[in-house]
């Protein structure tokens, strides 16, 4: 049975096509100003890659902030529901899944079947999501993909007092003027974010194993800080930004099976 999941995020659209619980193909497009079009496009691309046509797809489930933009969807699932399913699929031992997207961070507790047991969401404060790192990278005048490796060079972190993105940015500028070494500033930035994320996770309760998905999981600097703050190891998979779409596709499989 072939199903598809689509994650219409604020920055990008991700699509995953599954056949009998195996990933056939995946595709990512930037949302831009017309997310509906981007969603359509991404879907077409993924189908092509998988060499299947629309009629082959039994069920399409959409998730993400713009799930309603996926006009061809058969159902929707919440992002935390998708996270739970994807987490259990990718990491059978994971019981806590952290998903950090561009603008929102979530933590989810699940069981081995991917049932959503509890969740906590942090969407009000951007200092706990991907855009924070982007903004800080700009302030540091460092390329986004270089910031992670840069921070790993540091032995300790500079002092950042601000708890907020806006004030954090001016803090960083001050540190640069004081000629603090960039690796240390970078590490401080990651530590601040990891702090915020881990206090959110503590509200949920840390149940090992802990998995990290979402685009930010590719950032080695953040992952290192998070491991330090949580005090546990964190499981990471390739293509972590596709977790939402994968979870949605898994849900689609379940629902297609049920409706039969």
């Amino acid at each position: 049975m072939i199903t598809a999941g689509i994650d219409v995020g604020t920055q990008s659209v991700k699509v995953v096509v599954l056949k009998d619980s195996k990933i056939l193909s995946r595709e990512k497009t930037f949302s831009g100003f017309e997310p509906a079009k981007a969603a359509e496009q991404a879907f077409e691309e993924t189908l092509k890659k998988a060499k299947v046509s629309r009629s082959d797809i039994k069920h399409v489930t959409a998730t993400g902030a713009g799930a309603e933009m996926a006009t061809y969807r058969d159902s929707t699932i919440s992002m935390v529901g998708a996270d739970a399913k994807a987490g259990a699929y990718l990491f059978p031992t994971a019981r806590t899944v952290i998903d950090i997207g561009a603008e929102e961070a979530r933590a989810v507790r699940c069981d081995e079947k991917g049932t959503l047991l509890n969740f906590v969401v942090n969407e009000r404060c951007a200092a706990g999501a991907g855009t924070f790192i982007e903004a800080m990278a700009r302030a540091l005048e460092v390329k986004l993909e270089e910031m992670g490796p840069l921070s790993l060079k540091a032995e300790k972190a500079s002092q950042i007092n601000a708890t907020c993105v806006i004030f954090g940015e001016s803090d960083v500028v001050t540190l640069i003027h004081r000629q603090e070494p960039k690796p240390e500033i970078a590490r401080a930035i990651y530590d601040a974010m990891a702090d915020r994320i881990s206090s959110m996770v503590y509200r949920l309760g840390v149940n090992p194993d802990v998995a990290l998905v979402g685009g930010v999981a590719k950032d080695v600097g953040f992952v290192a800080s998070l491991k330090r703050k949580l005090g546990t190891d964190v499981l990471i998979h390739d293509n972590p930004e596709f977790a939402g779409a994968l979870g949605a596709a898994l849900v689609a499989s379940k629902r297609a099976g049920v409706s039969n």
């Binding site: 902030a65 929707t76 919440s78 529901g81 079947k113």
Partner: protein, 444 residues
């Protein structure tokens, strides 16, 4: 003190009448739109909505029938006494032949007006009421000859000062510890004082006979109220929003008529129980909301989300002083003497309250016991703990309630919000996730 100081002593500024009229008409238009929208949405969610609800839809309009009735009564010389919290002795007001109306504000837009006077951190219900007063939006507030303001929380305490700039405000101070022996004595004195004020304002003495009929009138209202809530215990025969609207309208409608109409609604619902005509599938996740009051019309935000979500949920019960708590407890009179009736009224208003503004000898367990009982009786699948930002009292009680519900394996989700429409999208994702969780819990 100079006359300039006198002006300065007032909280409320002088606003040019033109500005007031502009703001008021704009917010009034929005309010009427939201009201009719909510009703449309409720009708859409339950295609077989009971016919008896039509009456309540009419009363739900703040600027409609009820306003006209109260205005007409005032012209005939009747007095209108507004009140904010549930502690005002409605029986006394009715016995003195006055009209009781609850004047807490449920308009989002007026809270921004209130922001001109008090900080944004203040409870939005308070800010909204201040704003409503500043632009004269609430018909009931404007028509009140006096306002009974109970000093339950910080916001309420200062609100009574603010409102007294333009209205006579009578304070009632419930003791923070409900059940110490001194508390009841003090509360009785407060009630005696208010009783006297009511008699002075209306010019009517509250006699034994009148008080008895007022108490009996409210007992009949409580009977109808409980009958309605009991019908929500089993399979869903009425959507939560509809029941909540019925509950809320009791706070400003004519008590006798409201009772009769609610009984008619219950008769209709009982027929549906027999015919098994459900408002939604019986396996719909059953949600209970507890927390700060959700005042009509703008605060239907969360109930709308719950009952229109995918998967759909149904509000089967709540612990809100704007809904299921309103008329739940009766006044139990032992001997129909003035003395016993007075004590019965005093005790009913103070001792039964589950508001977290209290603590008690056993640490305010009343609220927890009430919740636990309702969880069982209404077969609740999950609880949403609803707090408007700024309410320390409800926010602080969350910790303990979460622990107790965790022990009982009942999912509980903390949802805080503001008097704003901007966070509907965010709330939607969380509510839907929670409902998904409940559905999965029920299936798995």
């Amino acid at each position: 003190m100079t006359s300039k100081d006198e002006t300065g002593m007032k909280y409320l500024p002088e606003i040019p009448q033109k500005e007031i009229d502009e703001i008021r008409s704009s917010i009034k238009a929005t309010s009427m739109k939201v009201t009719s929208e909510n009703i449309e949405r409720m009708k859409k969610s339950a295609p077989n909505r009971p016919e008896a609800m039509t009456y309540f839809d009419g009363i739900a309009d703040f600027f409609g029938q009820r306003e006209r009735e109260i205005r007409a009564a005032k012209e005939e010389g009747k007095k209108v006494i507004g009140y904010m919290c549930m502690f005002a002795p409605i029986e006394f007001i009715l016995a003195a032949d006055a009209i009781p109306v609850r004047v807490h504000s449920g308009w989002y837009d007026t809270s921004k007006i209130g922001d001109r006077i008090v900080p944004v951190e203040v409870c939005p219900v308070i800010r909204s009421t201040i704003g409503a007063k500043m632009v004269g939006l609430s018909p009931y507030l404007e028509l009140s000859d006096a306002i009974i303001s109970t000093l339950t929380c910080d916001g309420m305490t200062k609100l009574c000062e603010i409102l007294s700039d333009q209205k006579p405000v009578w304070t009632m101070c419930p003791p923070r510890v409900k059940d110490s022996p001194q508390s009841m004595n003090f509360w009785r004195e407060e009630l005696k004082a208010v009783k006297q004020k009511i008699e002075d304002l209306t010019g009517n003495k509250i006699t034994e006979k009148k008080l008895r009929s007022a108490i009996e009138l409210l007992q009949r209202a409580t009977k109808a109220f409980r009958r309605l809530q009991d019908l929500r215990k089993d399979s869903p025969v009425i959507m939560g929003r509809d029941a909540m609207l019925v509950n809320q309208t009791s706070a400003w409608d004519d008590v006798k008529r409201w009772t009769q109409k609610t009984e008619e609604l219950c008769d209709e619902l009982e027929k549906r129980v027999q015919q098994k005509t459900w408002a939604c599938p019986p396996d719909t996740p059953r949600v209970m909301v507890t927390g700060t009051p959700m005042v009509w019309p703008d605060n239907w935000k969360l109930p709308n989300l719950i009952e229109e979500a995918d998967p759909q949920g149904i509000l089967v019960a709540d612990e809100l002083c704007s809904s299921d708590r309103l008329l739940y407890d009766p006044v139990g009179v032992d001997e129909w003497t003035m003395d016993d009736m007075f004590n019965a009224v005093a005790e009913r208003y103070l001792l039964t309250s589950t508001c977290p503004c209290f603590t008690s000898k056993d640490g305010n367990k009343d609220r927890i016991n009430w919740l636990l009982d309702k969880l069982k009786e209404f077969r609740v699948n999950g609880v949403i703990y609803y707090v408007v930002r700024g309410c320390m009292l409800y926010a602080m009680e969350y910790t303990r309630i979460k622990r107790i519900l965790d022990h009982r394996n009942v999912p509980i989700y903390y949802l805080d919000t503001e008097y704003t429409r901007e966070d509907v999208g965010q709330m939607k994702t969380r509510v839907e996730a929670f409902l998904e969780m409940l559905k999965a819990g029920a299936e798995g």
